[in-house]
Symmetry: C2
Subunit: 158 residues, 2 copies
């Protein structure tokens, strides 16, 4: 096994990954605020994405995000309060309450995708396209498993 490089301490890597993530998300939300979505928080985009065009239920949303149905329900409440999601009764099953993205939510989602594309383009202009694709490929190799889990606050905290 190769010995650790003292000039490249291992603890820097996670910090750099976090800083990169944070930079992208901060830039995204600064631009979203400029384009009329100042209330959108980092978590919200992921939640909207997980709801999707067809809508879902709180329970299913919780499963998709890797959190409990109660936590998903509370998050939906907040997104409903700021106008990005809506709840409608399911005529075929009175227990279920469908969660749907509102037009405003869809607008935020569309703009987020565009902004992320622009930010990636900025990275390719600074670093070169090969370096960015290499980073993506390498991260995909190392991080294959735990993709979409949105329990970040609780996970990172306690």
């Amino acid at each position: 096994m190769a010995t650790a490089d003292p000039a490249r301490p291992g603890f820097a890597l996670p910090l750099l990954l976090l800083a990169g993530f944070r930079t992208l998300i901060d830039d995204l939300h600064a631009e979203l605020a400029r384009e009329g979505h100042p209330e959108l928080r980092p978590l919200h985009g992921f939640v909207l994405q997980a709801v999707g065009a067809d809508g879902t239920t709180a329970t299913e949303l919780g499963q998709r995000l890797g959190i409990s149905k109660q936590a998903a329900g509370k998050t939906v409440d907040r997104l409903v309060a700021v106008g990005y999601l809506e709840r409608v009764d399911d005529p075929s099953d009175a227990r279920r309450r469908l969660v749907r993205v509102t037009p405003r939510g869809a607008d935020g989602l569309r703009r987020s995708a565009e902004i992320f594309d622009r930010l990636r383009t900025q990275w390719t202009e600074t670093l070169g396209p090969e370096r960015v694709t290499a980073m993506e490929d390498d991260l995909g190799t190392m991080a294959s498993a735990n993709w979409f889990r949105l329990d970040v606050p609780g996970w990172f905290g306690g």
Copy 2:
């Protein structure tokens, strides 16, 4: 300006960065738990690191971590409760309460550094050393600014 590559959607990059970060931190804590530190949470290592060998005060810790002194104080309380930090009176200033890493905390810190080095070595063995240094350099280029800020739970959430 280069046009966005439809095969490389911009939204994947932040997800990959987060997944990479999460993978490293999860692996770290799985190994820490095996080595006798199951109570250590993701945030705790960063806090211990910020306290440092010389100790600090809660107010200064808050400044280092980019959070309020009250939040820093509460976090110190929790780390004290699990035995990783201790508070001692400052004989030269009765207002201050020095926060110091305990021997147990120092052990956790030392093991964390070793484990991070081993994890980085695993990455270099899988990806090649050049790819990992390239990733580190590129992330350092793009993320230069907002390094050590530990308001992640609140930042990511609301």
